[in-house]
């Protein structure tokens, strides 16, 4: 198992390298290259200031060097092992403990690692709340449709799940926000962010006070998350429900299910104790692919609901042509995706003892 884990982790490295090379190439191939794109702003600066900034960037990032050199330089900064670089941009000796330096965002003027450390937990929270929710609904609907296959519930759900799957996230987000968050209609939910300002001073759990009910930090957070989570989840549970149904039907017609029925088990037991566990396998496989799609989904959802997560950061970084930020977001999201695949493979061994990776 350990060797397998090690191999998988080592295989991640070329993929991550490839991802960053791809994105770097896109940026380098753009009109004017990275250097021009970075210096687009600052038109209100004095010439000497601008020249000073240019000199600083050139020294810091080697923007006057050809693109492959720039990439290697960036890679050297980011990788935990590599050459040390001193203040003047001269190469020192090879070191194994120089640490990772993600660089400074051009746009915010802050270290990229700080910005990411702020934003990643928010997106992860959003996604980790969404995944169990998605699976619960998907399994419920899938089981129910498979159990009375061909019935009105099955047919209706089959159609409406395909319809749900086709609703663009942005339409759902805009309509939900417009009708349930807006003053013009029902103002049931907050319109932006993941907690209100006063929630910082509240105790964690909801409770009663003299002044009345205090919703507490937790409830406030839940209240803010409802609409975004609905937006993020419906598309994936629609796809998952179809998959669950297929998988359960397949197993219900299999030999072992027939044997279980033949020995006199109740249909309920056949479904839940025998078929259910086996039907989980494709659901686990698909969960790996779910994470990238959720990350992409949070890009839209975070923009609609003004949540300061990775998704919004990604759009801001790309619009601001912020090289360091774009590259870091790229490899971090790629890394998260790969970790997602790895976790899915592990869950696979848990659900199916026949699978082993040795």
């Amino acid at each position: 198992m350990l060797t397998y884990l090690l191999r998988r982790l080592l295989l991640m490295i070329p993929t991550l390298l490839g991802i960053t090379i791809l994105v770097f190439t896109v940026m380098a191939m753009s009109p004017g290259g990275i250097s021009a794109q970075t210096l687009i702003g600052g038109t209100d600066m004095k010439p000497q200031e601008k020249q000073a900034l240019l000199n600083y960037y050139n020294k810091r990032y080697g923007l006057d060097k050809p693109a492959p050199v720039q990439y290697l330089r960036w890679l050297n900064n980011v990788s935990p092992i590599g050459f040390t670089i001193d203040e003047q941009g001269n190469r020192g000796e090879f070191s194994f403990s120089k640490g990772m330096d993600l660089g400074t965002s051009f746009q915010y003027g802050r270290p990229v690692s700080d910005i990411l450390a702020e934003r990643i937990p928010i997106t992860l929270l959003l996604n980790l709340v969404t995944i169990p929710f998605t699976y619960l609904i998907a399994i419920f609907v899938g089981m129910k449709s498979a159990a009375n296959r061909g019935g009105s519930f099955d047919v209706g759900m089959g159609m409406s799940m395909l319809a749900l799957w086709s609703i663009p996230t942005m339409l759902a987000g805009v309509l939900l926000l417009g009708f349930f968050g807006n003053v013009q209609h029902f103002q049931w939910f907050p319109t932006a962010g993941i907690s209100s300002r006063e929630a910082q001073d509240m105790p964690f759990l909801p409770h009663w006070e003299q002044t009345g009910f205090v919703r507490g930090f937790l409830l406030d957070r839940v209240w803010h998350l409802i609409l975004p989570v609905i937006c993020l989840s419906y598309g994936s549970f629609a796809a998952l429900a179809k998959l669950t149904r297929t998988s359960i039907l397949e197993n219900l017609n299999s030999d072992y299910a027939r044997t279980a029925r033949a020995k006199g088990l109740a249909e309920h037991d056949v479904l839940w104790r025998h078929v259910f566990r086996n039907s989980l396998l494709p659901l686990i496989t698909i969960s790996a692919g779910l994470l990238p799609s959720l990350l992409a989904g949070s890009l839209i959802v975070e923009n609609i609901f003004s949540i300061n997560g990775m998704g919004q950061l990604a759009v801001e970084a790309v619009k601001g042509r912020d090289r360091e930020l774009v590259l870091s977001i790229t490899w971090v999201s790629g890394f998260l995706t790969l970790i997602g695949y790895l976790i899915a493979d592990f869950c696979y061994t848990l659900a199916d003892p026949r699978v082993s990776y040795d």
């Binding site: 993929t15 490839g18 791809l22 994105v23 309509l175 397949e250 990350l295 890009l299 995706t337």
Partner: protein, 392 residues
């Protein structure tokens, strides 16, 4: 004794018949047909200028005079496609003829069509155009960029709430008719969907085909490439491409195509891995056929069926991508598109449901239609799979 009947139906005809069986797919095809109709005849359906007027006994058609190069080319291509479809030729020749025809049409239109550079929509509501014997207006008498200044339009009017001029789906902030903008936006959605997934298919088939045919080291390298493209959230890759390059319609098509090929490559690779050791492929190799012939003439037709299913889902995905990009403010700037209209709905100070619901609904219907078609297609092609899925 039962009589055996031999079906003379070809495989493709059989698939067609089975695909068209369901209700859902008919709804889907009907919607797509409606979109095609709207896209081709957009200037005749929603425009501020009269289709035909008769003034002092002289009949003229202002719409034709103001027809842009693009409009004319789309019209010409549509009729060429119809004509080619009616011809009794092989499909390869038909496609070639169609491409040739549309290229010639593009050339002719560019050479001979000189529409007036400046279009002032207010003029069509002045006495020169209204004081006539008779005139025929388009069904929606507002152009997508006609902001109705002379009519005193305040913008953001709900459907049917305006005085003096009716807007079936209301107006947007600047006062342009929402329905008219939607009709003109059909073109972007349809063309992006088809061309972007065409480009993706092209790249995917070549990469996947080479991977599957050679296997071994080529396969391994290719799979890494596929993984790289799959592990970056597609939307993010798209954003990066669009932000660092231009924002023209053609650029968007290419970009959506470039970022979307990995799924096709996987499909083709899987099929080709199965096929590469088959006798007929070995025979083709042994008779010294060139690689392109082996790959695309002999192997591809046998692995094309599941690919077509992926394509119809891919078109839906491409349309969604364009809408999302436009929604995030990174779409085509000079022409209305559904995603951009949705973006406008969010950006405006108040929430106006008609600005979100109608364009969003159009995106939904289009994506839903392509998904329905894809689903029906899959069930027809792979009866075993669909039986397992409990469809029939």
């Amino acid at each position: 004794m039962t009589e055996t009947t031999v079906s003379r139906e070809s495989f493709s005809a059989h698939i067609w018949r089975k695909t068209l069986d369901g209700v859902g797919v008919k709804v889907g095809l009907a919607w797509i047909a409606l979109l095609v109709f709207a896209a081709v005849f957009a200037p005749f359906l929603a425009n501020s200028m009269p289709l035909l007027i008769s003034k002092d006994g002289i009949i003229s058609a202002p719409v034709l005079r103001y027809l842009s190069v693009e409009d004319a080319w789309v019209l010409a291509t549509f009729f060429i496609a119809l004509a080619v479809y009616r011809l009794r030729l092989g499909s390869g020749k038909r496609i070639l003829l169609f491409l040739l025809g549309s290229a010639v049409a593009a050339l002719l239109v560019n050479m001979f069509l000189k529409p007036p550079v400046l279009v002032i929509y207010d003029d069509f509501r002045t006495i020169t155009y209204t004081d006539v014997d008779w005139r025929i207006m388009p069904p929606i008498p507002y152009a997508p960029t006609d902001y109705l200044r002379d009519l005193g339009s305040k913008g953001l009017e709900a459907p049917f709430k305006t005085e003096g001029h009716t807007h079936l789906m209301g107006t947007e902030e600047n006062g342009a008719d929402v329905l008219s903008r939607m009709i003109h936006a059909c073109r972007i959605s349809l063309s992006i969907g088809l061309i972007a997934s065409g480009i993706a298919l092209f790249i995917g088939v070549i990469v996947g085909g080479l991977m599957g045919y050679f296997s071994g080291i080529v396969d391994m390298l290719g799979m890494r490439l596929v993984e790289i493209f799959e592990d970056i959230p597609t939307l993010f890759l798209l954003l990066t491409f669009v932000a660092f390059f231009g924002r023209s319609l053609y650029m968007m098509m290419v970009i959506i195509g470039i970022t979307g090929w990995s799924g096709y490559a996987r499909y083709v690779r899987q099929e080709f891995l199965k096929l590469r050791k088959q006798d007929y492929v070995q025979a083709a190799v042994a008779s010294g056929l060139p690689l392109s012939s082996i790959l695309f003439r002999h192997m591809l037709p046998n692995g094309v069926a599941p690919l077509l299913v992926a394509v119809s889902f891919g078109v839906a995905g491409a349309i969604l991508s364009e809408a999302t990009l436009s929604f995030l403010g990174l779409g085509v700037v000079d022409a209305p598109s559904w995603g951009q209209m949705l973006d406008q709905a969010v950006k405006s100070s108040t929430f106006n449901w008609w600005m979100a619901a109608f364009p969003g609904g159009a995106i939904f219907m289009t994506v839903f239609s392509y998904n329905l078609i894809g689903e029906a297609f899959r069930d027809a092609i792979d009866p075993q799979l669909s039986r397992k899925a409990g469809v029939n």
